[in-house]
């Protein structure tokens, strides 16, 4: 397969990462190069699908419960009517209960945050950026999407119990060495971020995301 030298620009073009000049160069090019245009169309389709349905890519450990449930629901709806669906739901719930009972170790991560009566959740949740998938080494920092100015974030990391908790105004936090030392390869950890407004009120809570540091 002969590769056109412009092929390297396709991703940059579709993700809007090219400079204005490169963008124009590449646009003129694909009006002239059928091979690049074909590749561009195919890749655009793939990237658009990924952008619209990222949940397809997120592996089980990192995937949040809600999208997975919605996805299952959507797939099931294609096959069952409401009654059958309800039955399937009940059966799956029983299965789920059994699975949770049989493998309690895997589910050992305690939710650390509960809302008290004085706290309410407003607005959307916080999107966690890293780590959300399994790591080859102990992560040196934790990062999430910024919500706005004047927000204080409280981050907590836990395995069986709370490992570390801190607050920051940034949207990332570097793991201190003493905490890093406590993270053992092969163990499963989870983390969560809560955001507080200037008046100390809870604005948003992220979902609790798990990650595993692999042993190699």
């Amino acid at each position: 397969m002969r590769k056109c030298k412009f092929e390297d620009m396709i991703d940059g073009y579709l993700l809007n990462k090219l400079s204005e000049r490169d963008k124009e160069l590449f646009e003129e090019h694909y009006f002239n190069c059928p091979a690049c245009f074909e590749e561009l169309q195919a890749r655009s389709l793939i990237i658009n699908t990924i952008k619209n349905h990222p949940e397809v890519l997120v592996s089980e450990e990192a995937s949040l419960k809600v999208p997975l449930a919605t996805r299952l629901k959507r797939e099931l709806a294609a096959f069952f009517n409401v009654r059958q669906l309800a039955m399937t739901g009940v059966i799956s719930l029983i299965f789920l209960a059994v699975i949770i009972a049989v493998v309690p170790k895997r589910q050992a991560l305690l939710p650390d945050f509960t809302l008290t009566d004085t706290e309410t959740v407003r607005g959307s949740s916080i999107t966690l950026i890293s780590p959300v998938i399994d790591m080859n080494q102990v992560p040196s920092f934790f990062e999430w999407k910024k919500l706005g100015e004047n927000v204080e974030y409280q981050i907590s990391i836990s395995n069986h119990e709370l490992l570390w908790k801190t607050t920051t105004k940034e949207n990332r936090v570097v793991l201190p060495d003493e905490v890093k030392a406590k993270i053992v390869p092969g163990e499963r950890y989870s983390w969560q971020v809560k955001a507080f407004g200037p008046d100390g009120s809870l604005i948003a809570v992220s979902s609790r995301v798990q990650f595993l540091v692999s042993t190699k």
């Binding site: 124009e24 009006f31 002239n32 245009f37 195919a42 389709l45 699908t49 619209n52 080859n136």
Partner: protein
């Protein structure tokens, strides 16, 4: 000279071929510039195509550049004009930016479902690489640091995943 009947016929065939060849390219460029959901897309594409035909039949295209570049220039100019017109209108009636475009057009929906099915079949290492590289738009180096592999390996994973996807979808 286009006076002889066989020449005329030839020219008509050429134009038909031209439409078939450039319509998808122009459509892609227009959608990228003004958003696929924009209802003006189809009109704009037709307008550009008739402008191209007009300029070719009137002899304005003299082969100084390639035909592709000629069509590209007309397309880009028309898009700039369109955006200028829109901005003027928007001063009186503000409209949200047409892109980024979160929705899929109907015709793409079916294709997108095929892609989703193919994506789900990929091994986690490929899915993770695609997620970081295309969804989070990390650079090769950032994705490499996140996955604990070399940047070169990230490219390999992404390229191979694309190959697998296209094989699976037969596109």
């Amino acid at each position: 000279m286009r006076d002889r009947p066989e020449d005329k016929l030839r020219a008509e065939e050429d134009i038909k071929e031209l439409m078939v060849r450039y319509r998808p390219i122009i459509t892609f460029r227009v959608r990228k510039a003004i958003g696929a959901q924009n209802t003006d897309c189809d009109d704009l594409v037709s307008e550009i195509l008739s402008q191209v035909m007009e300029k070719i039949t009137s002899g304005e295209f003299r082969g100084e550049s390639s035909l592709g570049t000629f069509v590209y220039t007309i397309t880009s100019r028309r898009i700039v004009d369109y955006i200028r017109e829109k901005t003027r209108v928007m001063k009186f009636a503000p409209e949200p930016e047409p892109f980024p475009d979160p929705q899929e057009t109907l015709e793409q929906k079916e294709m997108s479902e095929k892609v989703q099915a193919a994506l789900e079949k990929l091994k986690p290492k490929y899915r993770n690489a695609l997620y970081l590289y295309y969804y989070q738009e990390l650079s090769r180096e950032e994705a490499a640091a996140r996955l604990g592999i070399s940047p070169r390996k990230v490219s390999e994973l992404v390229n191979y995943a694309l190959k697998l996807l296209r094989k699976e979808m037969k596109i």
